[in-house]
Amino acid sequence: MNRYTTSIAVAAFLALTTGASVANADQLADIKTRGTLVCGVLSNGAPFGFQDPDSREIVGYDVDFCKGVAKELGVKPELKVLSLDARIPELTQGRVDILAAVLGYNPQRAQQITFSDTYFVSNQVIATSSGGANKTLNDMAGKRVSTIKGSSNIPMVQRVLPTVQIVSYDDAPSAFMALVQKKVDGYVLSESLMHRFIDKLGANANTITILTPPVGREYWGLGMKKDEPKLAEAVNNALVKMQASGESQQIFDKWLGTASPFKMKRDFTTAPIPG
């Protein structure tokens, strides 16, 4: 019984404190008076947020967007490293102002937090062995495609290619190995991770080809607390300005472009996420 009373007390305390911070006018004004924008980022998600082995600083695509938005708001960026699982609670409990943490849009998340306009679009692609019979996405109909068990891209593939045979493995490297050893005809994964796996093949990287078009797209936004319309508007304005000035393109090219191991092309622009 004691435990229940404690938890009720804790819940009441949390409700009071969060209620109090909401009543404290708006978050944008808080950020401006404080002079810092606190960004929640990841430290283990190269190239989006990771520790640079030389400078020991957290860098990456997400980090640069945090810095860009802070600059547009006229405040200093402050990075706070979060774990992947805890990033949304950390935001809703007010420990960070925005999340720049590989945050893909889905309706369940959108009920808890506000998403900014897209600053990245993650394509889910199918890779196959080079030089085989499979040249485009439609050639994969009826073929064996490896996936990771429980992955959200399984329904995506099944929607686009209903006849495909799904073979699921426990983790991403096993599913990729199955493709390399030609145990399956294709492997579906996000484009950036796929490039990273292919890059690891070194001299044999040309044995694997990514098919077009992608099977699905995941829209990433910066995460903000619900009911902070002024902050959301300011962040979206900042993203639009970064897009117009070419800064968004520069950040993309720096981390994911043709000079990087990922060799990707930016096939999206900053726009409201199609819900």
């Binding site: 490896s146 068990k149 429980g150 073979v167 699921s168 493995y169 426990d170 096993s174 190995m177 199955a178 050893q181 030609k182 145990k183």
Partner: protein, 232 residues
């Protein structure tokens, strides 16, 4: 509490067909690896009983490896490791003919053959040495002695552990899910992923494994009874 359980969702639409395919794949895996394990297990036990020094050492090493390395490691080694040593033509042939089933059956079959050979060896050791001496003195050769005198008695003694290991083999086919063989556990996990009916999905798998395991043990008891009757 049971009012909230909804088993119909687990059998709805494509899932019934999926479950059936999982049952079939589990049975195929069990049958293929069991035949390999029994055939090889008998050969190993006979080789060891032969007393040829090299043969007994080789069999001992084979048994030591397969009993002391986790079966999951053996399955992964066969599926991801061994094919890289094969020529390309053999690789693509295996990949085109349900490579998951083939490699899982080989791995499980080899591993359990070690257990079966040990069961039979202990059975053979339980037969009094006088039986063999008597048979040899009557003019029976090594194989005839095994075939007509010692093996029938050894099998009778080895039956209970043999049945246990058959049940173990059947249960361990679930490890093949890690290499993408769509057997019962793989299928149930997939259904659980799509319906979120966690308890119901795993309850179905539990009942299936329990029913088949108990069935196998029942068959073993029946066979045991028949053998005892014949011996009288």
């Amino acid at each position: 509490m049971f009012g909230r359980l909804d088993f119909s969702a687990v059998f709805a639409g494509p899932f019934a067909h999926l479950l059936l395919s999982g049952v079939i794949k589990t049975c195929e895996l069990t049958a293929a690896s069991w035949m390999l394990a029994v055939g090889l297990g008998v050969m190993l036990a006979v080789l060891r009983a032969s007393g040829i020094p090299v043969a007994t050492k080789v069999v001992a090493a084979f048994v030591a490896y397969h009993q002391n390395v986790p079966m999951l490691v053996q399955i992964l080694l066969w599926y991801f490791g061994v094919p890289t040593l094969l020529p390309d033509a053999a690789q693509s042939w295996v990949n085109a003919h349900d490579g998951e089933l083939i490699f899982a059956s080989i791995a499980i079959g080899l591993c359990m053959s070690a257990y079966f050979s040990e069961d039979l060896r202990s059975g053979l050791r339980s037969v009094h040495y006088g039986q063999q001496e008597a048979a040899r003195s009557l003019g029976l050769g090594f194989f005839a002695t095994l075939r007509y005198v010692t093996l029938p008695q050894a099998i009778r003694n080895a039956l209970p552990p043999f049945v246990n290991h058959t049940v173990l083999l059947f249960k361990n086919t679930s490890l093949a899910m890690t290499i993408g063989a769509a057997e019962m556990t793989y299928v149930v996990r997939e259904i659980e992923n799509e319906t979120f009916k966690t308890f119901e999905a795993y309850a179905v798998a539990t009942l299936f494994y329990l029913a088949v395991s108990l069935g196998l043990m029942g068959l073993g008891a029946l066979a045991g009874k028949r053998i005892q009757n014949q011996a009288r």
